[in-house]
Every structure is written in C-alpha cells, then in structure tokens.
C-alpha cells in the first residue's frame, strides 16, 4: 500500500522525525551494528519508510535535509539537486510522467520551518558501504556523519554569504509553485 500522500504534510513529518530521533537515543546501547536487534531495525525501517518515502535503504538518511523527499529516488541519485534537465512542467527528464524529486524536495522544504533551510547544505558523497544497513542505527552512532578525511579537512565556504542571509530568508517563499505548475 502506498502511503506517499503523507509526504504532502512535510511539517508533520519533520515533527515526527524530531520526536523519533530523541526517542531512539536511550536505546543506543542495544541498537548496534551486528547486534541481535539489527535485522529487526532494518526490517522496521524498510517497511516503515518504504511505503511513505519509497526508501532506497542507502543507510545514511538525509530526508529532513531534503524536504522529507528521498533524494535517492532521483534516477541520477543526485544528493545536491535538482539537475538542469527538469522539464518546464516540473517533471523528471528521465521519467516524464513523474514530478522531479528535487522540485518536490524544494517545495516541501519551504513548508518546513525547522529543517527546511538544511536544503542549502552541501551533501557529501554517499558512503556505498552503508547501503542496506539501518540508517537509524548509523545515526545513533554517527556512522552516517563519518565522511572521508579529505572532505572533512577541506575549508568550508558558506553556501550563502552570511551578510546576505536576510535576502535568502526573504526569497524563501513558495512562489515556485506557480512557475512549476
């Protein structure tokens, strides 16, 4: 059963994410890679996130940073989208009948006061070793934040210059909906 319609309530989802993340913390002692509970967590994550987000089990979930829309469902797996091939109606270049994942991610992130602006972050390359593992366990132990040494040690340049932060927030209005419609 598809529960994709739930994605149209991004603010509710980000609140659930927030609560869920905190609720998991006390269990970090038992939820470890290789523990008896791991297969159960993988199964729960797959059956829980699959019908709602079409979860691809990349093991390093960034749903809250991409408008509660799974960027791994983009045919090109783009973590920093959208690409330049988006059709004028906002649909995907590869699958003309479906909406571009990143158009949806952007629109939904506008409705997410808490995590919405995280869409401005540059996402590191995917760690392919984590594919198929439970992102909840990886999150609890920080494996998903474990980046290659080069990436960590590179000087960070802010995406938007700090003095222009006001302008960014001001232009943060959902008028792209008309443009995409």
């Amino acid at each position: 059963m598809s529960l994709r319609f739930l994605q149209n309530y991004p603010h509710a989802l980000e609140v659930i994410y927030d609560v869920f993340e905190r609720a998991l913390q006390p269990f970090s002692r038992w939820l470890k890679p290789g523990s008896i509970l791991e297969p159960l967590v993988v199964w729960t994550e797959r059956t829980g996130k699959g019908p709602v987000f079409d979860c691809q089990m990349c093991g390093q979930c960034i749903l809250h940073s991409t408008g509660m829309t799974c960027s791994m469902t983009c045919p090109k797996n783009i973590r920093n989208g959208p690409c330049g091939g988006v059709r004028t109606n906002g649909n995907c270049e590869v699958k003309p009948e479906t909406r571009c994942v990143w158009v949806e991610a952007y629109e939904r992130s506008l409705e997410m006061p808490r995590y919405g602006p995280e869409i401005l972050q540059i996402q590191p390359p995917v760690n392919r070793q984590l594919e198929g593992t439970a992102s909840w366990i990886n999150m609890l132990h920080g494996f998903d934040a474990d980046m290659p040494d080069g990436w960590v040690n590179t000087t960070e340049i802010p995406v938007i210059p700090p003095e222009k932060d006001q302008i960014t927030r001001a232009s943060w209005t959902p008028n792209s909906k008309q443009a995409a419609a």
Binding site: P75, K76, T88, G90, P148, G150, W151, K164, S171, A179
Partner: protein
C-alpha cells in the same frame, strides 16, 4: 578573488583581464582518427578562448573527452575538459583529473551528465557515484588542499580552473540561484549555462544572483547556439533535456521561408549574444553548434567578438607543430 592565477591557462587569463570571453563546443568524432579532432579544433581555435571537449553528451558514445583533451593540448590548444559523473566512479574521476592536469589541461567542467536513457544505449549501467557538486568540491580539494578524497596526499597538485553548469531556465526557477550558490561554495570558478533563448528570464536570474552577492565570485559564460530550422527548434525544446525555447523564437522561425530559416536562426543567436553582453555579471558566451563548427566562427564574427586575444608564446594553430614521437630505447 586572489591575484594569483589558479590554473594559469589562456581562458583564465582572458577572464581575469575582463575581456568578454568566448568558448565553444567541439563535437567529438565517432572515429579513431586524430585528424578529425584537429580539423574541428582548427576552425574553433581562432575564434574562441577555450574549446569544450564534451563527455558523451546526451549519453551518446563518442571519442572520450580526456583523449580529445590530450590531442588538443599536444597541439597547443586550450581545452575545457568536461567530466560527467554518469560513467565513472570517484576513483576513476580523481585519477582522470590528475592525468588531465599532467597533460596540460587547465580547465575542467564538472557536470552530473545526462541520464543513460537519453542515449542510444539505454541498457547501460548508471554510475552517478558523485553528483556535480560533490565532484566540484573533490576537485577543489585536490587543487587547493593537495589531497584525494580519502585524505591521501598528492605530491603535485593539479592546477585547474573549475567550471560548473547552470540552467537558469528550468524549474524550480527561484531555487536556481541558490543551487548556483552551492556550486560556487563547492568550488566553481566559472559557469557555463544551458542554451539561452530567453534573455528576460536570464536577466531576472542574474538579478537574483546579484542579490545573493555571488556576481563577483564567479565568471559567468552564457550558453548560446544557432537554431537551424523551425523543425530543429521543435525537436530541441521537446527532446533535449533542459532546453527551453520561448514560443516567440519558434514563431519567428516559422514565419521565415524554409530556405532562409538557417540564416534567421544564426541572426537570432547573434542578437542574443549582443543582448546578454549588456547584462551585468555576464563575462562571456559559450557557443554550442551541434556538428556545425564553421557556424560558430560566423556567429562570433557577426557578433563583433573577433579577433580574439592572442595566445601567449604560441605558434599559429594552422602551422602547429606535432610533438615528436619519442623513441623508446629497447632493453636488449
């Protein structure tokens, strides 16, 4: 921007000098003959400051971009090495960046690449290990920090001017400037855009980019190209991903008699170049003419962008000297 040159290539010098830059796309041959590359490059080299070697654009296989770059640098041309994430993983890409720099390539254009389903071999495996922004940042880390993604040190850093693509015409329109900001933060030094047929939209985009304070952080080259006919325009807007052609342009071609449509398409392109030249923050144009290199020369001349700045200490491309084959001494 700091005063030291990042790569020291011809394109960077032209951009740095403030002259209106011109780059053009070389259509890669479906052959194993170097002459085919040189023939196309000869036409382009006199009218532009950098030649883009495309990496299987539209997911159609041609001679590889790194090989074209090798041929071009050997003959003293200035290539822009296009590198797409579609066909190679991070290990191959980082190795290619070092190899290209070693051969004298001074510019790369980092792109995600068209999907395999657009091409004639849709059954191929997609790689997409990186996306364009991750690739840009990795290339910047190799150049500025002198290390691979893993943190392993490089003994010599690749001197590269890093380029990125932008499409101001595809939705979501108000997110596009923000994506450009991401690319600049990831390391883009110059931008080449998708085909521009809608100057008012480009102008609006440039205003948004200026409001974000990004104009002086990047060199901006606007993509342009001639439409050969009304049919070609209809094909491009419906079949080529990311190309947006306003109805007025197609209408203008339709009103032109069939025989004169080619000429009219060229005139439209020249007009667009002249219009974008007036926009604040536009540092050059990138001319794309699929399989029509000679048209590029005509367009650049008619747009008043000829002659181009001379190359430093380089011989005339027509009388280029081929490197001598070094004979390998045999051991026995």
């Amino acid at each position: 921007m700091d005063t030291e040159l990042k790569a020291g290539g011809r394109l960077e010098r032209v951009l740095r000098s403030g002259r209106f830059a011109v780059t053009a796309e070389l259509n890669p041959p479906d052959s194993a003959d170097a002459e085919d590359v040189y023939r196309a490059a000869l036409v382009l080299s006199t009218v532009c400051d950098g030649i883009n070697a495309v990496d299987a654009s539209g997911a159609h296989c041609h001679m590889s971009s790194v090989a074209i770059c090798a041929l071009l640098t050997r003959a003293g041309y200035e290539p822009i090495y296009q590198i797409a994430c579609r066909d190679r993983n991070r290990i191959a890409i980082q190795g290619d960046l070092l190899g290209a720099a070693a051969m004298g390539v001074r510019n790369v254009l980092c792109i995600t690449g068209d999907d395999v389903t657009v091409g004639d071999q849709p059954e191929a495996k997609r790689v997409f290990d990186f996306d364009s922004i991750q690739l840009l940042r990795t290339a910047r880390m190799m150049r500025d920090e002198g290390m691979f993604l893993s943190g392993r040190k490089l003994s010599t850093r690749p001197r590269l001017l890093l380029g990125a693509a932008a499409n101001p015409f595809a939705p979501p329109l108000d997110w596009r400037p923000m994506r450009l900001a991401k690319k600049i933060a990831a390391g883009a030094d110059f931008i080449q855009t998708q085909y521009c047929f809608d100057v008012p939209r480009l102008s609006e985009y440039m205003d948004q980019v200026r409001d974000l304070g990004l104009l002086d952080q990047v060199y901006f080259l606007v993509g342009v190209g001639p439409l050969r006919s009304e049919k070609a325009a209809e094909y491009m807007r419906s079949k080529v991903p990311g190309v947006v052609i306003p109805d007025e342009i197609v209408e203008r071609l339709r009103k032109t008699p069939k025989k004169l449509q080619r000429e009219e398409g060229k005139r439209i392109c020249v007009e667009i170049i002249q219009q974008v030249r007036e926009l604040e923050g536009v540092d050059g144009v990138h001319v794309m003419a699929y399989r029509h290199e000679h048209l590029v020369a005509e367009i650049i001349e008619e747009a008043g962008l000829f002659p181009r700045p001379r190359r430093h200490g380089a011989s005339d491309p027509a009388s280029r000297a081929r490197p001598k084959q070094r004979s390998v001494p045999s051991k026995d």
